[in-house]
Amino acid sequence: MIRLFLDARLIAVKDLRIEFRSRILLNQVIPFAFLVLVLFGFALDADQPTLRIFAPGLFWIAVLFCALLAVQRSVSIEKADGADTRLRLSGVSPVAVFLGKSASVFAQLVVLEVILSIGIFVFYGSSVKQPLLMIVTGLLAATAVASTGTLYGSLASGLGARESLLPIMLLPVLAPVLIAATRAFEEALGNASVDGWAWLGLLAMFAAVATGFGGLAHGVLVDE
């Protein structure tokens, strides 16, 4: 078990180091996220009160779009020069590979969520009424998206045209995360009086199932 977590940490640190070097998150994903927020503003042709109402949904749609980029990048790191094949031969457990890659995507999503939060405060004039609810929602949703994304990224990597297949496969599966996280954010931002904590139950369950199932299925998906 200790070896599993050491290996997962090895994979996560490697992925984050590569990300830090290539600066894809900084130079491409974060500007893309801001662009999405700004374009939503143009598209809705709305003043700040209207944007504030839609801010939770727009925030999570922007996160999901950016998660696609992060997951595709996570897959392409392994595919670049056949490193995925060597990783399979390395003796690192597929579960550790899954956990490590999910942890790396999770870390990137958390950074992205923090920056996007600043974006909706500045561009949409949103403010936080329940910071704890907002933080827990962000962490649980990031876990769910990272685990599901890593699993589907592995599945798509074995198929042709993974760049176009991944969104089609992943986004419908993440619909419950989008709904639950949006509802919880609506309460956290004081937009609606829904029971945000109850929606966290759905998010937590989704995150647990995605991580557990992903860990078990990843090896088989990569191998078969």
Binding site: K14, R17, R21, L89, S90, E224
Partner: protein
């Protein structure tokens, strides 16, 4: 127990039968050259032995592990190193980061990892000036050397080498020959797929000729 034992092994790549019933038995300590025309099934045979593709029929065992079973295939892989057409390196990491990563991935602690990486870089003649360069900045030949160094740190029991001399200069080719000899002296087993019969044939004790996904000739030299 033989290191590799294949009986009527069939491998499909999509619907294409890449291996159509291979029979092959390789004992520990052997150096075997796989030769044959393009598309004969050499690389697929190496992938099968590495547990990277699963056989659809026949009996395929490496170190006694059944390659048709996912769990056993994963067990067998721990004892195998394979050099394929790709380098298997992370191009955005530096040379030294790559080597340490693959050493740690093999389960070595930091001290042993450092010791093995030092030894491997010296053995492969990788200049210290290259250590902190990203792999993407290296020439094809330099990448090949780093790739081989990353395999050496693992000290595998079975080496599967697919055109190992490709992209290397004369000194690099000689070095690969030395590594093959070293691996066998250390008790390892080496299977090399190559068109370079003159060079690899001299190192091999056995030449297996493939064509159309079958073993057509098996000669002990």
């Amino acid at each position: 127990m033989p290191v590799i034992e294949l009986q009527d092994s069939v491998v499909l790549l999509g619907r294409f039968p890449a291996l159509t019933g291979v029979n092959l038995r390789i004992e520990s300590g052997e150096t075997v050259l796989l030769q044959g025309p393009n598309g004969a099934g050499k690389s697929t045979l190496l992938h099968l032995c590495a547990g990277l593709v699963a056989p659809v029929s026949g009996s395929s065992k490496v170190f006694g592990f059944d390659l048709s079973a996912t769990k056993e295939r994963q067990e067998a892989r721990r004892r195998i190193a394979m050099l394929g057409h790709d380098t298997g390196l992370y191009i955005d990491l530096t040379v030294i980061e790559n080597l340490h990563f693959w050493a740690r991935a093999a389960g070595l602690d930091s001290e042993l990892s450092k010791e093995r990486v030092d030894g491997a870089t010296k053995r492969l003649g990788i200049d210290e000036g290259l250590f902190d360069l990203a792999v993407r900045l290296l020439s094809a030949g330099q990448r090949r050397r780093v790739s081989l160094a990353a395999l050496i740190v693992r000290r595998p029991e079975l080496w599967l080498l697919d055109e190992p001399h490709a992209g290397l200069d004369q000194a690099g080719r000689d070095l690969v020959d030395d590594l093959i000899t070293d691996a066998v002296i250390a008790g390892g087993t080496v299977v090399v797929a190559s068109h370079d019969l003159d060079r690899v044939g001299l190192l091999s004790g056995r030449i297996v000729t493939l064509a159309g996904g079958l073993v057509r000739r098996d000669e002990v030299i």
